[in-house]
């Protein structure tokens, strides 16, 4: 049955492949289990971005609905004011995904790429449920693929498939700065931008990120791997940077070196977090050695609380 549907799907739309399909279905099932047990409706539970957007607070003019009066502002100014909302519009999620070589790395439960795709699938499942729109921009040294935002399950699958079709390539370095600039150009409407990368050696991305966050709601998803923060004691080894091909022979037997590396990595992480904060992007951290779903839920819950 599943096989038949897959064939039918392929015949229907050549971009749809079972891999992306299964990913999305898995995410949807997880979301259903996670969400439908709580709360009254699917829409209100877990989502990215606000459906209702505050457009303006202006003085009351006759004819306005008295229910929209903002009493706080009215009291402060002495004159009646009303809150004006945009209609309950759909949210556009733009995924900016790093497809450089370092994303093919992973030493714990999965590669960073796998994690990135699962994360995108989860977000896509949320988007599909809400009837929102999702688009994508894949980047390594340059644009490696992308698709305009569209609504529906097919759009989600297309994005997932695009990621599958452009796996992390060796000898490609991430240029998140270019990717974020490009995303700003691509997103016409105010969108939620989900930028997924390890943010290591990803170019001078802070300024483009800040500019992007000025207009859009930016979520900087940082995918970590434990091996990027610590060195194991395995004697002298030759290490190679998959992005540059640079090789380095290090003696990991030196305890001082391992400590120095750990300290430097901690500083690197702190600097990254500070950059995100300065750019006013919210920061989502997932790691290959942790349950990314739990991290995502925690992030979304905290974010919701932070809003109120």
């Amino acid at each position: 049955m599943r096989h038949l549907s897959a064939v039918a799907a392929v015949a229907d739309d050549p971009v749809v492949v079972p891999g992306a399909d299964r990913l999305l279905r898995g995410a949807d099932l997880w979301l259903a289990r996670r969400v439908d047990g709580h709360g009254p409706g699917r829409h209100r539970s877990i989502r990215l971005g606000e459906g209702l957007e505050l457009a303006d607070i202006r003085e009351y003019t006759p004819g306005d609905d008295v229910r929209t009066i903002d009493w706080n502002v009215t009291a402060r100014t002495g004159r009646p004011h009303v809150r004006v909302y945009d209609a309950d519009r759909d949210v556009t999620v733009l995924v900016v995904a790093d497809r450089s070589a370092s994303m093919g790395f992973g030493t714990a439960n999965a590669t960073k790429d796998r994690l990135a795709r699962e994360l995108v699938a989860a977000v896509a499942a949320m988007v599909v449920r809400r009837g929102d729109r999702i688009g994508g921009l894949l980047f390594d040294e340059e644009r490696a693929g992308g698709m305009r935002a569209a609504s529906g399950r097919r759009a989600a699958l297309r994005l997932l498939h695009a990621m599958e079709a452009a796996p992390p390539k060796d000898r490609t370095a991430a240029r998140m700065d270019l990717a974020l600039t490009d995303a700003g150009r691509m997103a016409k409407r105010r969108s939620v931008v989900l930028a997924i990368s390890d943010w290591i050696d990803a170019g001078a991305w802070e300024e483009p990120l800040r500019l992007l966050a000025y207009r859009h709601e930016v979520i900087a998803a940082e995918i970590r791997d434990p091996r990027e923060d610590t060195l194991p004691d395995v004697g002298t080894v030759v290490l190679e940077d998959p992005e540059t091909g640079r090789q380095l022979e290090v003696d990991t037997g030196i305890a001082g070196l391992r400590e120095a590396f750990e300290t430097a990595a901690a500083q690197q992480r702190a600097a990254r977090a500070a950059s995100f904060a300065r750019a006013r992007a919210s920061h989502l951290i997932v790691s290959t050695d942790r349950d990314w779903r739990a991290d995502l839920i925690k992030y979304l819950t905290l974010r919701k609380k932070g809003r109120r």
């Binding site: 790395f105 390890d198 290591i200 940077d241 380095l248 022979e249 003696d251 070196l257 590396f261 430097a264």
Partner: protein, 319 residues
């Protein structure tokens, strides 16, 4: 020849060492080449910032030791041998000393006679105890002062008693020495290897000519080592007259060459002693080639062991 001078009994096998540069080239090439077994590591630039610039020389210690060990093994394959001084078993040396009047000349300090005595005693000290010595002096006639004996006291006493007298009967001195050797050989019943060490400072002017005695020495297979003492143009005041006391180099050299010995010239006390000492080791010891393959191979083994330890301790691998 220094004792470390190596010769190879199978020198042709040393060609094997020509493979070593190949090995070195391979190693250097390997260092230059990109490592195929590199591990992926994404945070490399951060690590590079904190890591020291490669372990440097440590990486090459064990490789260098292996190279040295291979070199030694290659050398051992060619069966290296070294010259060893082996004390001569049974051998006799007759010291023949000129005690002519001219030995009083003071061109050597304090005079030729004293210098000759000192040098002779040094010679006695430098030969191995197994050696048998005899002392003959000649002037107007020759005299056997000490017969061929192992008793060093006798020999030393004879040398101490040497005093300058008159003429130079060099041929007679040689003849007495050869007679003594012949007597000793007859007594032993076998031809003991023997040589004569002749010291003279003048021209033979009495008795039979030295060349005749040299012929006998050649027949007896006794090499005669000759030492000429005195500076060139030295004179001696005798009865109010200055007499030239020059060494008869021509005769001494001829005698030495005819008998298979060697001629030395000495113009001062120091070189005279050196000449005697050197003769002591030449006459007292045989140079023998001894194969040292096992020692070299053992050393190579030790160095290989060191290489393994160094590789394990320094770089966690054996290259």
């Amino acid at each position: 020849m220094s004792p470390l001078a190596l010769t190879f009994l199978d020198g042709g096998r040393l060609w094997l060492l020509a493979l070593l540069p190949l090995l070195i080239a391979l190693y250097v090439g390997q260092q230059r080449r990109r490592r195929a077994y590199a591990m992926r590591f994404t945070n490399l630039s951060l690590l590079a910032a904190v890591a020291p610039k490669r372990p440097g020389w440590k990486r090459h210690v064990s490789a260098a030791m292996i190279l040295v060990a291979l070199m030694l093994l290659g050398g051992a394959f060619a069966r290296p041998a070294t010259d060893v001084r082996v004390p001569r078993g049974r051998a006799a040396v007759v010291l023949v000393v000129d005690v002519s009047r001219s030995m009083r000349a003071t061109d050597l300090s304090p005079n030729r006679m004293a210098a000759a005595k000192t040098a002779s005693l040094a010679f006695v000290d430098s030969v191995p105890g197994e050696m048998e010595l005899a002392v003959v002096s000649f002037s107007n006639a020759a005299a056997l002062l000490a017969p061929i004996t192992r008793d060093r006291a006798v020999v030393r006493g004879a040398i101490d008693r040497l005093e300058p007298i008159a003429g130079t009967a060099m041929g007679e001195g040689l003849a007495v020495a050869l007679d003594e050797i012949a007597r000793a050989r007859q007594a032993e019943g076998q031809a003991i290897p023997a040589s004569v060490l002749l010291l003279s400072d003048g021209v033979s002017n009495l008795g039979r000519p030295p060349e005749e005695a040299a012929d006998t020495a050649t027949e007896m297979d006794v090499p005669v080592y000759t030492v000429g003492v005195g500076t060139e143009g030295a004179t001696l005041e005798f009865n109010g007259q200055l007499i030239p006391v020059d060494v008869d180099e021509v005769t001494l050299r001829a005698v030495a060459e005819a008998t298979g010995g060697e001629y030395f010239r000495s113009g001062d006390t120091k070189t005279l002693a050196a000449v005697y000492k050197n003769l002591g080791s030449v006459l007292g010891y045989d140079l023998e080639q001894r194969e040292v393959t096992a020692a070299v191979a053992g050393l190579a083994g030790l160095i290989l062991l060191g290489a393994a330890i160094a590789g394990t301790l320094l770089t966690n691998r054996i290259p």
